[in-house]
Symmetry: C2
């Protein structure tokens, strides 16, 4: 998430806030008490000194949070120091000994080249058991049902303007998903279509008058069919929102600074759900074929949504921004001339006469990795960022950001997968310098060098992908074999096998 937030940090720091304190337990049932996030910090501050307190029972709240890496890495104090070393940029993976990640998932990560103090990516990989709430029908549970559900879960969280939001999301988002699924445990295991209406929850008011009922008669005679799959999608969507709301509630006490992109995979009842909010990406490589499983949400891809919001709610622009896009900044001397522009309805461009309010800064500007909302942030979906404001202004940016993911579904049962078929998740540190085809080529090259039943092959593949994006130090930079610059960003990769040794069936 390097370079994707400008100017935000000064505001975060200047916004005061309580001193770092031990967080209260999150709102969620069974939430384990977890280390608090790091306090506000400048993303370009120098790397932490090696040995400054990275041991497991950290000396201060700040130090503990600063060095937080995924627990499945099982990092020793020395390993933690190496993981935090911007000079060496050692690739980290779970140890080859002991318990593997579910499905023999491969994982590798590397810290950035020094542009933020710590690695602001976080990751989570869990098997989550969902116990049903008492029978939703209100009747005593039948013995054959209510057996609970298991889902497999992988998450990548790419933080910006601090590591707090990514850390919190990596710790709690899957619990929000579990909460949302609790009501569905029986329904999802029932071959019948989901009931459209459930009896009231205890204490809910009963039927009431219908004085608010309007005149028009129903225009549909039958009812809409709702699938089990769409219930899981809805559960994941709402879990993202509740996670974001929790961050908003707890941001003062817990110092949940910054925000994060979230890319999450849920495997449940034969289907893989890929939920993405931000600019991380997921692809399936199946028999050499590439199947995109996500879409990036950036100021460019969401330009029209952002412009529409600015147009409908001009108060959100604070008189400082215009919802129109121009191909470059309009100069005062150009007043009265005609400049190319496009608005929320247009994909093409046209000329308009420049008026005084067109001199305001455009809500959306820039191209590619330099595209920004309100000259500040380069991603438009994700979690957190509740304190994010425009530089030299108090204008909040959060209203333009969406916490909702796009969820794509892949039915694992529709295809007989071989051990070389994988789902690859990566933060933008991977994708900025690696094409889908290059990933597919690496998949082929690395996996063919291992026996199909060797469970370490997916970790080796994740490492190869991270190394291929990082490059090696040469000519005052990290460079790829073709001498182009490697990624100086944090890089994190999951490789999830879709068949073979880690079989889930």
């Amino acid at each position: 998430m390097l370079n994707r937030v400008r100017s935000a940090v000064a505001h975060l720091v200047s916004s005061g806030g309580a001193p770092p304190s031990r967080p209260k337990s999150p709102d969620l049932p069974n939430a384990t008490s977890a280390p608090p996030a790091a306090p506000p910090q400048a993303p370009r501050s120098p790397p932490a000194r090696a040995g400054s307190g990275g041991a497991a029972p950290a000396r201060t709240v700040e130090a503990r949070a600063s060095f937080s890496r995924p627990t499945f890495l099982q990092l020793s104090p020395g390993g933690l120091r190496r993981a935090d070393d911007h000079a060496g940029r050692a690739v980290q993976s779970p140890p080859d000994t002991g318990r593997r990640l579910p499905w023999s998932t491969g994982y590798a990560e590397v810290i950035n080249a020094g542009k933020s103090r710590h690695n602001e990516d976080q990751a989570c990989c869990e098997v989550v058991y969902v116990e049903g709430r008492r029978s939703v029908s209100g009747a005593p549970r039948e013995p054959s049902r209510g057996q609970g559900l298991c889902f497999y879960y992988w998450g990548l969280f790419d933080g910006h303007a601090g590591g707090g939001a990514a850390e919190m999301a990596s710790r709690l988002l899957h619990r929000h998903i579990r909460e949302q699924l609790k009501d569905l445990v029986e329904i999802l295991q029932d071959p019948l279509p989901p009931p459209l209406c459930l009896p009231s929850t205890p204490g809910a008011p009963g039927s009431s008058d219908s004085s608010q009922l309007v005149g028009p008669q129903s225009c549909w005679s039958s009812q809409k069919e709702v699938t089990h799959e769409s219930l899981v999608v809805g559960a994941i969507e709402n879990a993202f929102q509740l996670m974001d709301e929790q961050m908003a509630r707890e941001r003062r006490g817990h110092q949940v600074e910054g925000g994060c992109c979230a890319l999450v995979v849920v495997y449940l009842l034969g289907k893989v759900y890929v939920a993405n909010a931000g600019d991380s990406r997921a692809i399936i490589v199946r028999n050499g074929e590439i199947i995109p499983m996500s879409r990036e949400f950036t100021p460019e891809t969401e330009r029209q949504r952002l412009q529409l919001l600015g147009f409908l709610k001009p108060e959100l622009l604070g008189g400082e921004f215009t919802h129109l896009e121009f191909p470059r900044r309009v100069q005062p001397k150009e007043l009265g001339q005609r400049m190319l522009y496009r608005d929320q309805n247009m994909t093409g461009w046209a000329y308009k006469k420049i008026e005084l309010e067109d001199l305001r800064f455009p809500l959306v500007c820039g191209e590619g990795k330099k595209a920004r909302v309100m000259a500040t942030i380069g991603v438009t979906r994700g979690l957190g960022d509740h304190n994010l404001r425009v530089c030299s202004s108090t204008l909040p940016i959060k209203p333009f950001l969406s916490c909702f993911p796009e969820v794509r579904v892949y039915d694992l049962t529709q295809y007989e997968h071989c051990p070389d078929d994988v789902l690859v998740l990566g933060t933008d540190g991977l994708w900025d310098v690696t094409s889908d085809c290059e990933v597919a080529a690496t998949v082929d090259r690395v996996l063919s060098a291992y026996e199909p039943n060797d469970p370490s092959r997916y970790t080796a593949l994740a490492q190869a992908l991270v190394l291929g994006a990082r490059g090696t130090p040469r000519d005052r930079g990290w460079r790829l074999p073709n001498n182009k610059l490697g990624s100086g960003d944090d890089i994190s990769v999951f490789v999830i096998p879709l068949g073979g040794p880690g079989s889930y069936s």
Copy 2:
């Protein structure tokens, strides 16, 4: 557009309005004075009696407009009567003698089975010359430039709640496009990239003060590249908007009743631009391969846009509608129970406790052809509908409708087309009962029965497509060979050859 507007007509009729009068000349330069649209009429009124005044110089304003069919059909008085006969439903095409449509374009149409008084589809096919405005650079025009531009134009307009909007659009939309292109004549013929800024138009204010300039510095150093293609897209988009605004201005005097979907093709400088607003559709069939060239805009495909608008501007819902979607109408007795729903952010479904305001009618309801906005209209983009209101209410629906098309571009120079490669445009009367594959099969079957250089083959193909969607009268209805019901709607089809005898090169 059958069955796509409920309840609207009563309001249109009851809204009064001036008596039918000769329209003043439209706002556009060179607009020909044209017959006024028909006055408000019930779409399900009985078919007009044959011979009730369909001759070319009609006896009354109403009669003239009622029978308006595309001029390129060159219908005789008798042909006009047959075209208006719901019982026979004779397929109409341009005569095989005399001047052909540009590119030997094929066209066929048929009236509905009696559900609206007249055929509410309209069509237009023109070659339009665009004369540049005086040199946009302000300098005297160079002799080598300013030669003007030609574009080829095809439009299908599927009216609802009356034929006025479709008739007006078929007469004027290409003129709006021409107006938008006038400023671009030089720019589009210049191999250099379009200038981002043009000198001020005469009488425009010069440079002014920059007191409104805000603080944030530009986040982009370079300027965005704007292509010639995106200028044409912008011109078409703005032409749709100006057409819609003209309808709004003139709807009283001219009786522009109802609204229409618009599907338009522009061929300019080697590229085909397909602009669609509504539920008509366009596909290219190329060497047997199907290339979709449009997307339908309906309450289902635009649900989230509509819900977002209702959420951000609740006053548009008038306290009568809820922006939430439910799988069926919520009953008052279900208050306090939990019902499946989804909001503007969700693609999945979840349960929520029913509260009083959930008993309001949903903004979007129904499925497939029965889906409706505000229980009234089944398409969400198009032109007109300025008077459309919710039944038993004064709530306007127009704010939820968009007049902007989606424009897709196809570069004709990137592929060597053969005479069997065609672009097929059809109103929903075709697509409701015909799949893309069936269209492709008909393309293959009909064209292979004709010599490649026989220019009548595309008309024969259009006729075959219309006949295949209409069916034949049998068992108290129009039935297809498989005994399913044919389309009872108006059906209109253009077949545009992309290579071969009608070559444009």
